[in-house]
Subunit: 128 residues, 2 copies
Protein backbone atom coordinates (compact mmCIF):
# COMPACT_ATOMS: atom_id res chain seq x y z
CA UNK A 1 0.00 0.00 0.00
CA UNK A 2 1.15 3.52 -0.75
CA UNK A 3 1.28 6.22 1.88
CA UNK A 4 -1.81 7.86 0.37
CA UNK A 5 -3.82 4.66 0.74
CA UNK A 6 -2.70 4.09 4.31
CA UNK A 7 -3.38 7.74 5.12
CA UNK A 8 -6.94 7.44 3.85
CA UNK A 9 -7.59 4.00 5.34
CA UNK A 10 -6.57 4.98 8.86
CA UNK A 11 -7.34 8.70 8.69
CA UNK A 12 -3.81 9.82 9.50
CA UNK A 13 -2.05 12.42 7.37
CA UNK A 14 0.84 11.30 5.16
CA UNK A 15 2.98 13.85 6.99
CA UNK A 16 2.17 12.23 10.30
CA UNK A 17 2.90 8.75 8.91
CA UNK A 18 6.33 9.90 7.70
CA UNK A 19 6.91 11.68 10.99
CA UNK A 20 6.05 8.58 13.00
CA UNK A 21 8.49 6.51 10.98
CA UNK A 22 11.20 9.16 11.15
CA UNK A 23 11.13 9.36 14.95
CA UNK A 24 10.86 5.58 15.34
CA UNK A 25 7.29 5.42 16.57
CA UNK A 26 6.84 2.68 13.98
CA UNK A 27 9.60 0.45 12.59
CA UNK A 28 10.96 1.26 9.12
CA UNK A 29 8.39 0.67 6.40
CA UNK A 30 9.44 -1.49 3.39
CA UNK A 31 10.28 0.45 0.22
CA UNK A 32 10.07 -0.19 -3.52
CA UNK A 33 13.37 -0.16 -5.52
CA UNK A 34 12.83 3.53 -6.11
CA UNK A 35 12.51 4.29 -2.41
CA UNK A 36 8.74 4.69 -2.14
CA UNK A 37 7.06 3.36 1.00
CA UNK A 38 5.14 0.12 0.44
CA UNK A 39 3.22 -0.56 3.65
CA UNK A 40 2.55 -4.22 4.42
CA UNK A 41 0.32 -5.81 7.05
CA UNK A 42 2.92 -5.53 9.75
CA UNK A 43 3.41 -1.82 9.08
CA UNK A 44 -0.33 -1.32 9.22
CA UNK A 45 -0.50 -3.22 12.49
CA UNK A 46 1.98 -0.81 14.03
CA UNK A 47 0.05 2.15 12.70
CA UNK A 48 -3.21 0.89 14.16
CA UNK A 49 -1.53 0.27 17.51
CA UNK A 50 0.06 3.69 17.62
CA UNK A 51 -3.08 5.48 16.52
CA UNK A 52 -4.92 3.80 19.38
CA UNK A 53 -2.24 4.66 21.93
CA UNK A 54 -1.84 8.25 20.79
CA UNK A 55 -5.59 8.82 20.81
CA UNK A 56 -5.52 7.77 24.44
CA UNK A 57 -2.73 10.22 25.17
CA UNK A 58 0.15 7.79 25.65
CA UNK A 59 3.36 9.80 25.27
CA UNK A 60 5.29 9.36 22.04
CA UNK A 61 8.55 8.92 23.94
CA UNK A 62 7.31 5.78 25.72
CA UNK A 63 6.02 4.34 22.47
CA UNK A 64 9.31 5.01 20.72
CA UNK A 65 11.08 3.14 23.49
CA UNK A 66 8.69 0.22 23.11
CA UNK A 67 9.39 -0.01 19.38
CA UNK A 68 13.12 0.23 20.02
CA UNK A 69 12.92 -2.62 22.54
CA UNK A 70 10.82 -4.66 20.15
CA UNK A 71 13.42 -4.28 17.43
CA UNK A 72 16.13 -5.48 19.80
CA UNK A 73 14.50 -8.90 19.97
CA UNK A 74 13.45 -11.41 22.62
CA UNK A 75 15.97 -10.28 25.23
CA UNK A 76 13.77 -7.24 25.87
CA UNK A 77 10.54 -9.13 26.53
CA UNK A 78 10.35 -8.30 30.22
CA UNK A 79 11.44 -4.69 29.70
CA UNK A 80 8.64 -4.32 27.17
CA UNK A 81 6.13 -5.82 29.54
CA UNK A 82 7.26 -3.46 32.31
CA UNK A 83 6.91 -0.50 29.96
CA UNK A 84 3.39 -1.53 28.99
CA UNK A 85 2.43 -1.95 32.62
CA UNK A 86 3.74 1.50 33.47
CA UNK A 87 1.78 3.03 30.63
CA UNK A 88 -1.31 1.17 31.76
CA UNK A 89 -0.90 2.58 35.27
CA UNK A 90 -0.55 6.09 33.90
CA UNK A 91 -3.58 5.56 31.73
CA UNK A 92 -5.62 4.42 34.71
CA UNK A 93 -4.49 7.47 36.68
CA UNK A 94 -5.54 9.78 33.84
CA UNK A 95 -8.87 8.00 33.57
CA UNK A 96 -9.43 8.59 37.28
CA UNK A 97 -8.70 12.31 36.79
CA UNK A 98 -11.17 12.36 33.94
CA UNK A 99 -13.80 10.61 36.02
CA UNK A 100 -13.36 13.25 38.73
CA UNK A 101 -13.76 15.97 36.14
CA UNK A 102 -16.77 14.21 34.65
CA UNK A 103 -18.41 14.06 38.06
CA UNK A 104 -17.87 17.79 38.55
CA UNK A 105 -19.23 18.54 35.11
CA UNK A 106 -22.31 16.43 35.78
CA UNK A 107 -22.87 18.15 39.11
CA UNK A 108 -22.54 21.57 37.53
CA UNK A 109 -24.84 20.68 34.66
CA UNK A 110 -27.42 19.49 37.14
CA UNK A 111 -27.10 22.75 39.04
CA UNK A 112 -27.67 24.66 35.84
CA UNK A 113 -30.71 22.53 35.14
CA UNK A 114 -32.16 23.35 38.53
CA UNK A 115 -31.15 26.99 38.13
CA UNK A 116 -32.83 27.24 34.76
CA UNK A 117 -35.88 25.53 36.18
CA UNK A 118 -36.07 28.15 38.93
CA UNK A 119 -35.64 30.94 36.40
CA UNK A 120 -38.51 29.47 34.36
CA UNK A 121 -40.70 29.27 37.40
CA UNK A 122 -39.99 32.91 38.18
CA UNK A 123 -40.99 33.89 34.65
CA UNK A 124 -44.22 31.90 34.90
CA UNK A 125 -45.12 33.47 38.22
CA UNK A 126 -44.55 36.90 36.74
CA UNK A 127 -46.83 36.24 33.75
CA UNK A 128 -49.57 34.71 35.87
Amino acid sequence: MTIAEVSQKYDISADTLRYYERIGLIPPVPRTKSGIRDYNEESCGWIVLMKCMRKAGVQIEALIEYVALFQQGDSTLDARKALLMEQRDQLLARMADMQASLNRLNDKIEQYEQGLLLAEQKLRRKSE
Copy 2:
Protein backbone atom coordinates in the same frame (compact mmCIF):
# COMPACT_ATOMS: atom_id res chain seq x y z
CA MET B 1 -3.66 34.28 50.73
CA THR B 2 -0.54 35.16 48.80
CA ILE B 3 0.33 33.56 45.50
CA ALA B 4 3.06 31.52 47.20
CA GLU B 5 0.56 30.05 49.67
CA VAL B 6 -1.96 29.22 46.97
CA SER B 7 0.80 27.76 44.83
CA GLN B 8 1.85 25.44 47.65
CA LYS B 9 -1.67 24.57 48.77
CA TYR B 10 -2.86 23.48 45.35
CA ASP B 11 0.49 22.41 43.88
CA ILE B 12 0.35 24.82 40.97
CA SER B 13 3.29 27.09 40.16
CA ALA B 14 2.97 30.82 40.80
CA ASP B 15 3.77 31.35 37.13
CA THR B 16 0.88 29.17 36.13
CA LEU B 17 -1.47 30.94 38.55
CA ARG B 18 -0.52 34.32 37.04
CA TYR B 19 -0.80 32.87 33.56
CA TYR B 20 -4.28 31.51 34.27
CA GLU B 21 -5.43 34.90 35.51
CA ARG B 22 -3.78 36.74 32.62
CA ILE B 23 -5.55 34.67 29.97
CA GLY B 24 -8.88 34.73 31.82
CA LEU B 25 -8.99 31.10 32.86
CA ILE B 26 -9.87 32.43 36.30
CA PRO B 27 -11.54 35.78 37.05
CA PRO B 28 -9.33 38.65 38.32
CA VAL B 29 -7.95 37.96 41.78
CA PRO B 30 -8.42 40.67 44.46
CA ARG B 31 -5.34 42.79 45.19
CA THR B 32 -3.90 44.60 48.20
CA LYS B 33 -3.45 48.40 47.91
CA SER B 34 0.05 47.79 46.64
CA GLY B 35 -1.18 45.52 43.85
CA ILE B 36 -0.25 42.16 45.30
CA ARG B 37 -2.68 39.30 44.72
CA ASP B 38 -4.75 38.36 47.77
CA TYR B 39 -6.62 35.17 46.92
CA ASN B 40 -9.96 34.68 48.66
CA GLU B 41 -12.23 31.65 48.82
CA GLU B 42 -13.87 32.39 45.51
CA SER B 43 -10.50 32.68 43.77
CA CYS B 44 -9.47 29.38 45.31
CA GLY B 45 -12.70 27.79 44.14
CA TRP B 46 -11.94 28.76 40.56
CA ILE B 47 -8.41 27.44 40.89
CA VAL B 48 -9.63 24.08 42.19
CA LEU B 49 -12.17 23.85 39.39
CA MET B 50 -9.65 24.68 36.70
CA LYS B 51 -7.02 22.37 38.09
CA CYS B 52 -9.55 19.55 37.94
CA MET B 53 -10.65 20.37 34.41
CA ARG B 54 -7.11 20.83 33.08
CA LYS B 55 -5.95 17.57 34.64
CA ALA B 56 -8.70 15.88 32.70
CA GLY B 57 -7.53 17.54 29.49
CA VAL B 58 -10.36 20.03 29.01
CA GLN B 59 -9.07 22.67 26.61
CA ILE B 60 -8.13 26.04 28.06
CA GLU B 61 -10.05 27.86 25.34
CA ALA B 62 -13.36 26.30 26.40
CA LEU B 63 -12.68 27.08 30.04
CA ILE B 64 -11.83 30.70 29.22
CA GLU B 65 -15.13 30.99 27.41
CA TYR B 66 -16.95 29.55 30.41
CA VAL B 67 -15.38 32.12 32.73
CA ALA B 68 -16.19 34.92 30.28
CA LEU B 69 -19.83 33.80 30.14
CA PHE B 70 -19.94 33.54 33.91
CA GLN B 71 -18.71 37.10 34.27
CA GLN B 72 -21.42 38.31 31.91
CA GLY B 73 -24.10 37.29 34.41
CA ASP B 74 -27.34 35.36 34.41
CA SER B 75 -28.19 35.96 30.77
CA THR B 76 -25.57 33.39 29.85
CA LEU B 77 -26.90 30.56 32.03
CA ASP B 78 -28.04 28.37 29.16
CA ALA B 79 -24.95 29.09 27.07
CA ARG B 80 -22.82 27.98 30.03
CA LYS B 81 -24.83 24.81 30.44
CA ALA B 82 -24.48 24.05 26.74
CA LEU B 83 -20.73 24.58 26.98
CA LEU B 84 -20.46 22.24 29.96
CA MET B 85 -22.48 19.60 28.18
CA GLU B 86 -20.26 19.80 25.12
CA GLN B 87 -17.16 19.42 27.26
CA ARG B 88 -18.75 16.47 29.03
CA ASP B 89 -19.41 14.81 25.68
CA GLN B 90 -15.83 15.35 24.60
CA LEU B 91 -14.62 13.99 27.91
CA LEU B 92 -16.75 10.87 27.49
CA ALA B 93 -15.36 10.38 23.98
CA ARG B 94 -11.79 10.65 25.24
CA MET B 95 -12.55 8.23 28.05
CA ALA B 96 -13.84 5.75 25.49
CA ASP B 97 -10.59 6.11 23.51
CA MET B 98 -8.66 5.51 26.70
CA GLN B 99 -10.70 2.45 27.53
CA ALA B 100 -9.94 1.04 24.07
CA SER B 101 -6.26 1.70 24.63
CA LEU B 102 -6.44 0.19 28.10
CA ASN B 103 -7.98 -2.96 26.67
CA ARG B 104 -5.20 -3.26 24.12
CA LEU B 105 -2.56 -2.71 26.78
CA ASN B 106 -4.12 -5.36 28.99
CA ASP B 107 -4.26 -7.82 26.10
CA LYS B 108 -0.63 -7.17 25.23
CA ILE B 109 0.50 -7.49 28.83
CA GLU B 110 -1.29 -10.80 29.05
CA GLN B 111 0.44 -11.94 25.88
CA TYR B 112 3.77 -11.01 27.38
CA GLU B 113 2.90 -12.92 30.51
CA GLN B 114 2.14 -16.02 28.49
CA GLY B 115 5.22 -15.43 26.34
CA LEU B 116 7.44 -15.12 29.38
CA LEU B 117 5.89 -18.24 30.83
CA LEU B 118 6.71 -20.16 27.66
CA ALA B 119 10.28 -18.84 27.71
CA GLU B 120 10.63 -20.00 31.31
CA GLN B 121 9.30 -23.44 30.44
CA LYS B 122 11.83 -23.70 27.59
CA LEU B 123 14.64 -22.84 30.00
CA ARG B 124 13.47 -25.44 32.50
CA ARG B 125 13.26 -28.12 29.86
CA LYS B 126 16.81 -27.32 28.76
CA SER B 127 18.19 -27.58 32.28
CA GLU B 128 16.40 -30.82 33.02
